[in-house]
Symmetry: C3
Subunit: 331 residues, 3 copies
């Protein structure tokens, strides 16, 4: 298996081999992170621009520290205080980043599909750090790494995802990463917060829906709680936070329905007391901090892989003419 | 020609030789930027503070990446979230930056002249990254570099600048950089958006005004479109954006009036469909992305030159006493 | 004296030897800062996260440049645009920073005690960069360094602190650093802006209160002016800024009451014309810029010392297991 992708936009069209390759590389990066000197020169002299049109702390810092651990130069753009306010188009902003010398653009955007639009139009490599409700591929990969380290091979394992699946790019990316690795997914949560086709039984292969979270958790191998966006309640999709917590929140009693020691994940930031009790979030089953650490490793792996893609500008194998025309160059 | 300036505030008092020196150094920096490892150790251990009291993306990132490519340490201050909000004077803010160890302060400010005020009062080198309507010297230099690469020597070339010249620090800095290199400038745009003396024919040497943009473009060697600030319309200086676009916007038909292949520049961010059509902005004559890339090289050249000025603090030739008294020290 | 602290939260429980050690190390760091190449590899491959839940410019940049001068990687979080807005608890935010790989978290927070809460719950080292009205230990240490360089040993020296002591973490940290070094403190300012117990004579050892600032300054060895928060006037604690300036502001006449050449300090940012006249702020007695430079050195010293604490995670002496359990490991 050699890496040939120029961008990381979503994992829905990835092969199992590609996912495995990223997980293997991430494990190697975890070893780098465990060293006293947490740094490799892999991306020295390369530039990673973090373009966050939506607010984020953990994902932005995770990518930033991943890039710095690889010795890349980084620069951060957030929506406020940037030219975005001046009415520049997304296309022009990103072409400008390319012309400024961005080898890799890490991009979070409120509009689903924005990273695809960009990736078709620039020679910089693009990593999707979350686009609307669509995808958050690095979250899917870090959840897969975390589950595999805890459970071993995911073949036949049953993973429950609880919460607002409809609006969750995390749920979508988890499904697109875990199912190819052989896991079976049970979705649970309010029917109003499920995609309508899925609610009616037209589910993707490997995915089931069980509204009753207790039944969903019975004998499960792991559970991923989704963050409840408080805005959903205002939109009339939820009766109250208290009712949500009672009916779908992960309590100690509830998680005990899973297999002994079955782990609990959450993408963060958590609403403690709503989708997850503090005792579960910080209890012995919690892998939530491990997810954060693994996130840095997965992002290091992807940044590094994108710099090795044959013919890609981030690989800097060819000259300016090759970059512009996107020619394939032997690495 | 040796470099002896301690600051880069505006190019209006620069000699042709000084401009040529910066352009030559910028060409050398473009070669550094074309290398697989885009980094030189020239400013290692030096500190560049980016003090942006006005919002900016491309200029801030351009300076930031330029400083990092030279291995300098960087720190960014923006108006929001800084002590500026606490009522500190500009003088005290910049003296603080000096005391914090800023070798070079890159400064954007809404008040014309602010960088001059600062440069007289600190030993750090100051680069003006745009002060009110006054000057934006690095933009003038990068436009000169871009035009020279495209047209060859600028002696006798006729460059059109279209738009809101009155409020444009870009127009002023372009004139002060291109005229010494032998270019002739034709300004075009609404008479309400021209400095009143210029509108009445009292123009600087080498500069003409032609309100009709079609006549201005006939046979021209290049055109620079200025960004239209939408606020101007609110102030009653413009009838409507649509009328502006029809009368002065750069369309494909209009730019075809120039000499064959004559290039189109724009400082960005663009209002596509207003001062420039998308087909022109992204068409074969457009050098807009080349301007962005050249901007990084010009800023690297200036940062590097300022660190070589004999006796300047950024040169770190002398000790603390020399720094304070601004003594000339043999490099 | 060897350093054994895992955190820097306040200096109120520090021994004189510990304070002396930091001042000595800071003097060594000043020598590093005076070199042409202002950089040491001491923290190479370590990560310092700057978590500023309250706005700050000088303290944030001071820590940032200190960390970079030690070759650490840095990442900045400010309250706006971070997950704090999404309702995450402080505990979860900081556990996330730890999991992201923060060796040292520098933290400013509006709530007194917040850094203590955090330090008990993470293995990262925590430096308090100001918590509510409680403490600002690096300011106390940099003031001690500045005074000692100017006055020599502080034994028996009388230092006046003028202003809003009640709301000032700077005053508290100055007292807790200067008194152990043998200095005597005279507080002066409106009685409404003194802690009520202190106003009534129940003062800590080494501290006196003298409402009349002229009497307080008579024969003093140095004065520290505190920043007047304009919000205090709105709260009815002050009659008017003009009256404050007349009654307690440091004028040239007033500071001349001190011993000849006795220096003037201010933590910044200054309200010139209120708590301090411009002629004093920028006059020959002013050490205000020297304080800023010393601040970088003190922060370098603390960052470096925290990376040498036996068994501390920032020391990276042990493996992951040691970090988690906080075991003491021979360095």
């Amino acid at each position: 298996m050699t890496w040939s992708r120029r961008h990381v936009l979503a994992t829905d069209d990835w092969s199992r081999d590609e996912i495995e390759l990223v997980l293997q590389q991430s494990e190697a990066m975890l070893e780098v992170l465990a060293r006293p000197m947490r740094r490799t020169p892999a991306l020295r002299g390369r530039t990673v621009v973090l373009f966050f049109a939506e607010a984020s702390t953990r994902t932005r810092i995770s990518f930033e520290l991943a890039a710095k651990a690889l010795s890349a130069d980084t620069s951060i753009i957030t929506a406020s205080g940037s030219s975005i306010e001046k009415g520049e188009t997304l296309f022009d902003t990103v072409r400008t980043l390319e012309a400024l010398g961005a080898d890799i653009v890490v991009m979070r955007h409120g509009a689903a599909g924005a990273p695809y639009f960009v990736a078709e139009r620039v020679s910089s490599a693009v990593i999707n750090a979350g686009d609307g409700w669509h995808a958050h591929p690095t979250q899917g990969l870090l959840d897969a790494l975390t589950l595999r380290t805890s459970l071993g091979a995911l073949e036949g394992k049953r993973i429950v995802i609880v919460g607002d699946v409809l609006h969750s790019r995390v749920a979508r990316s988890d499904i697109h990463t875990l199912v190819p690795l052989g896991a079976r997914i049970t979705l649970s949560g309010p029917a109003t917060l499920m995609p309508s086709a899925w609610r009616c039984g037209q589910l993707p292969a490997g995915v089931a829906f069980e509204e009753d979270v207790d039944r969903a958790l019975d004998g499960a191998d792991a559970v991923i709680a989704l963050r409840l966006q408080r805005e959903r309640m205002d939109a009339g999709l939820l009766p109250s936070l208290r009712e949500y917590a009672l009916t779908w929140g992960l309590s100690e009693v509830r998680v005990a329905r899973m297999r002994p020691g079955a782990p609990v994940l959450h993408p963060g930031p958590m609403n403690e007391g709503i989708e997850i009790e503090a005792a579960v979030a910080h209890g012995p089953r919690s892998l939530i901090e491990r997810q954060v650490t693994n996130g840095v490793a997965v992002r290091m792996a992807l940044l590094h892989l994108l710099s090795t893609t044959p013919g890609a500008p981030a690989a800097r194998g060819g000259g300016e003419a090759d970059r512009r025309e996107g020619k394939e160059v032997a690495a």
